[in-house]
Amino acid sequence: MSPRTWLIWSLAAVTVAVSTDNPVYRGLVALAALNVLLTWLPPGRRMKPLAVALVIAAALAALINVLASHTGADVLARLPSDWPLVGGALTLESLAFGSDVGLGLVAALLAVAPLSMVLEPHDVVDAMPGPLERTGIAVATSLNLVSGFGRTFTAVSDAQRMRGWRPRGIRSWSEVLVPVVLTAIEDSVLLAEAMEARGFGAARRTSYAATRWSRVDSAVVAAALGSAALFIGFRLAGVAIDWYPYPILYLPPINPALVAGCLALALPGFLPAERGR
């Protein structure tokens, strides 16, 4: 699939995940995006960091909502009311709504995951339309640099630890974070210098890769845009596709047309994935 197709698909999937807060649709979008990711993931790429990020995002969203919002008919527990912010009833409805928000985050993250896990940095550049190409290059090169930051962090914290540093409160972390940030800035400048030395200037650029566009690309783009249009259309027409579980929890409304829209987003997951690009 062409990189531009990926970009359009990702944007459409995120739009759908954001345009509704019905957990059924969000869940279906998440499952569709997961299928797509699993189909196209290059061999040897690890899913674990993404999985960890997803779990943390969802859990945090649910937790924050259940602690901060105290409306809802089914009370699970009570905290003393005089506690600031978290005092009051902890209800099933706020847990459900918080989980819905978390589900939205998960769906959106899974929708954009292929852009970094499946595509190469140069694909991101190729995907950008002309005026945005330089932005694409900035994104691609930063992806290269960012992977080095984790190593810098480990190295610096190791070294400072051996010099006697101990993590003791927030302020002590400056001894590790400041060098890491400084190193990051310096690396960026070094990269900028190298790019400049290879002629990266204000002039236009030509593209090494031939843009290839096949029927598959057209199909995926049509399906993705159609799905997004469907959701936006329903919203504009006032057909309620939302879910607001207050004051009492209830089963969200499900429209088969919108379910079909979610399924359309899963189309790339059913295509044969090309390997060794």
């Binding site: 499952l31 997961l34 040897g44 057909v239 309620a240 879910w243 209830y250 409304p253 088969p256």
Partner: protein
Amino acid sequence: MRRWTRLLTAILAATAVAMAVAALAALAPASPLVSSCAGAGPNHAALVVEHGDGSTVTRCVSFATASVSGEQLLDLSGVAWSGESFGSFGEAVCAVDAEPAHYSTCPGKDSYWAAFVARGGGPWQLTSVGVSTLTLSDGDAEGLRYVPAAGSPAAPPSSVGVCAAAGATATVAVAPTATAPPATRTSAGAAGTASVGATASPSAPAAATVSAGESFAPGVTAATTHTSTAASASASGVAVGIDGAPAPTGGSGIDFGLLVAALTGGALGGLALLRLSAGRRRPS
């Protein structure tokens, strides 16, 4: 070929699981009140609703518990209504039977639904609490009247005689109430779902118009449209007047949308699991 059979098996298994879940969800009672009021209970309370044009709807509702809230009474009565919650005040009635068809504020600026209570056959008294906070016991009555905003609201017609005989057929003065709607308490979105199994009543659009016409911004506190269970209506001894088609007892039919969603979700989930396990078995 083996890969396809495995794929197919996984999809079928996931779909079967999904269907089982959907069936269970559909069969589950939507409201705990159904079970507590299954079968004619010893206690009765009346509901009188007077619309802006003067037409009146009366219902007699029986219940087994010592008291019910005004909200529960409305639910049990089979009247289609929607309300909004206002903190400690409780639930206020915003629309009954599509009056008003659209509203942007509740209670409305020009006209609103005033709530009354009559204790033990006595005179109507204006309530100062929401219908969810109001409690009614055997022999009490709840009244709703659509009144102009200005001035003190006049009371609805008397509730005496509404519950005169337990199990007697209550006259339904004016027809258009939903009679055999789907069991699930749905929000304003049920408009799209067709009910499978339950008789589509000619008045279902009435319930739908309330939701489709609401012009509030998404995300703002949605008014919940309450449609009661047909099962409870029959159990409480109120004959459903117009079409007489009894709803299946113990729960409504399976929601088609739910089924489709469960199927799709099951298939996608099953596929994802299959791919994950294949990836793990593959030596990386």
